[in-house]
Symmetry: C2
Subunit: 166 residues, 2 copies
């Protein structure tokens, strides 16, 4: 179950000013509920990594995460960050952005199997949009040649509305 006050942020909102405290808090609550529901353990490192990623809508590299973990008193070897990130990605609480070799918190843990991303090259924020698997040209082509899609990467780089204006 989602928290009663759960209001998933939409890609529309990521690039504009919003109540980020509430945005991060509700995502964290959703993560806790999802883990409870599935019998997963959101251990201190895992929760901390998620919290770090929820601080902004920017993607963080594994070593940036690691640095912040160390500052917070956790161990500072690469596997510490990678294990937590792997767990969070595996359960859909965090997404990997291939183009950046970096990670963003998921806004709607319950929703998407095939999210797409918009990456602003100026403010470095990343918006997620819940897209369906292979809805477009690619999906059509895949069906045409009998290719069975298991996972997709869909990422657009460009400029968000605010950064175009400036």
């Amino acid at each position: 179950m989602m928290p009663k006050n759960f209001l998933p942020i939409t890609s529309t909102q990521v690039f504009v000013k919003h109540d980020h405290r509430a945005c991060a808090r509700s995502a964290m609550e959703a993560a806790h509920e999802l883990c409870a529901a599935r019998g997963l353990r959101l251990t201190p490192v895992r929760e901390k990594v998620l919290a770090l990623l929820l601080e902004s809508h920017q993607a963080l590299g594994a070593y940036a995460v690691l640095e912040r973990l160390a500052q917070a008193g956790f161990r500072s070897q690469p596997p510490v960050a990678y294990r937590a990130l792997d767990f969070l990605v595996e359960h859909g609480l965090v997404h990997r952005i291939e183009k950046l070799n970096a990670f963003v918190a998921c806004n709607q843990p319950q929703a998407g199997h095939a999210p797409a991303f918009m990456i602003c090259n100026n403010c470095h924020q990343v918006a997620e949009t819940p897209g369906k698997r292979a809805s477009g040209t690619l999906g059509k082509k895949a069906r045409a040649i009998g290719f069975h899609i298991q996972s997709t990467v869909v990422e657009a780089e460009g400029l968000c509305a605010a950064c175009q204006a400036a």
Copy 2:
């Protein structure tokens, strides 16, 4: 101009048996003509890297390319491979597959600005399909929020028809 006998391979053909000699040869001819037309220098390393990638429809990592270059008598420092790959990618003769941190030769150098890829997890071949920039859900969403797309990454992993059968 394309060579008169230029028959771009389509994504349909990549995953099935085809005359690969002809496929590679025509792509190389197309590359030469494209470079001639744009005043670009397809130097020996660059041509060799393209030839290596044209040997199969599998993606090669930069260090795999480097190894083969060394075997062919070229220098063996990373920048040798990366510079050639950068050149080829910049001019659309080769594409980078983000999911694999690897590179594939382009089948239709003249065509695409926003290609999409199907990566078979079994035979490791990669098919390119010429998709338009942001034709689907993502493009619609981007327009809706005023996000200006500069480039896209669209990659699907899965199983090609032949590998599903086996």
